[in-house]
Homo-oligomer: 148 residues x 2
């Protein structure tokens, strides 16, 4: 397996899944983890904050506050199967920040909204274009399968 | 909904799922996250390290090393659905350590092996009785659903 093939398989694994789990640390250094929807453009991951502030869950708000304190994150995308020879995951390490509509990164925000709506039809009726988006700069990606 | 009912629903959610994602932090404070199998006895979670040392993946070993440095963990067990009114998760915060067969906690280790083998038939042919087990002391559990 060449490195190029590995990259393509990893990309395919990422693109073919619908949910990831994002680990962050809070101000005290305690890790936390939440499920997220995401899109990967080959370089960066984007994840929307689609809830209205008053209905957003405490855990989801916490995720944003954590990123402001410490940008370091990990993301796992995985397959569970009762056949344990069929397990696999992609583990991403990176740094995250939050981009805003109309801010310095308005263009990137618009592009991320477009990609997210393309991938998740559910976002097409949600005002994610008016909400912050989590941007993840990937520092390392590792793919693992139980097939070896 | 009384607190007792909430506890029962949370317990049911935990018991009816097969995989969780465990977030830990490494020595530098960087969060990481891996999928794990688990059993919950009502008070503590247990997770086996079933791989033989030479085949264990680097990420899985890292998880153990992380716990030795910082016992603080979070665990998420969740449902993804394309119908976003059907999302839900249980988020657990806690402290983890590792118990060994024949060690100070040998009895608890044996009990955990028994519970894990009861829940996952896959473990019945694996020598998890001779391997360390991750023990998680729960400090907080929160259940969230998109149904509100």
């Amino acid at each position: 397996m060449t490195s190029q093939e590995a990259d393509e398989r990893t990309r395919q694994f990422i693109d073919s899944h619908r949910v990831a789990r994002l680990a962050t640390v809070d101000a005290s250094g305690h890790p936390t983890v939440v499920p997220i929807c995401y899109v990967f453009d080959g370089g960066r991951f984007y994840s929307a904050i689609d809830e209205k502030p008053k209905t957003v869950s405490a855990d989801r708000l916490k995720r944003l506050m954590n990123l402001a304190v410490d940008p370091r994150i990990s993301l796992v995308i995985d397959d569970y199967s009762e056949d344990w020879t069929q397990l696999g995951y992609v583990l991403v390490r990176g740094r995250a920040d939050v981009i805003e509509p109309g801010g310095r990164d308005a263009k990137e925000h618009s592009k991320a909204v477009e990609l997210l709506r393309e991938r998740y039809s559910q976002y097409r009726t949600k005002a994610i274009d008016r909400r912050p988006i989590i941007r993840i700069e990937v520092t390392r990606v590792r793919r693992w399968t139980s097939k070896g």
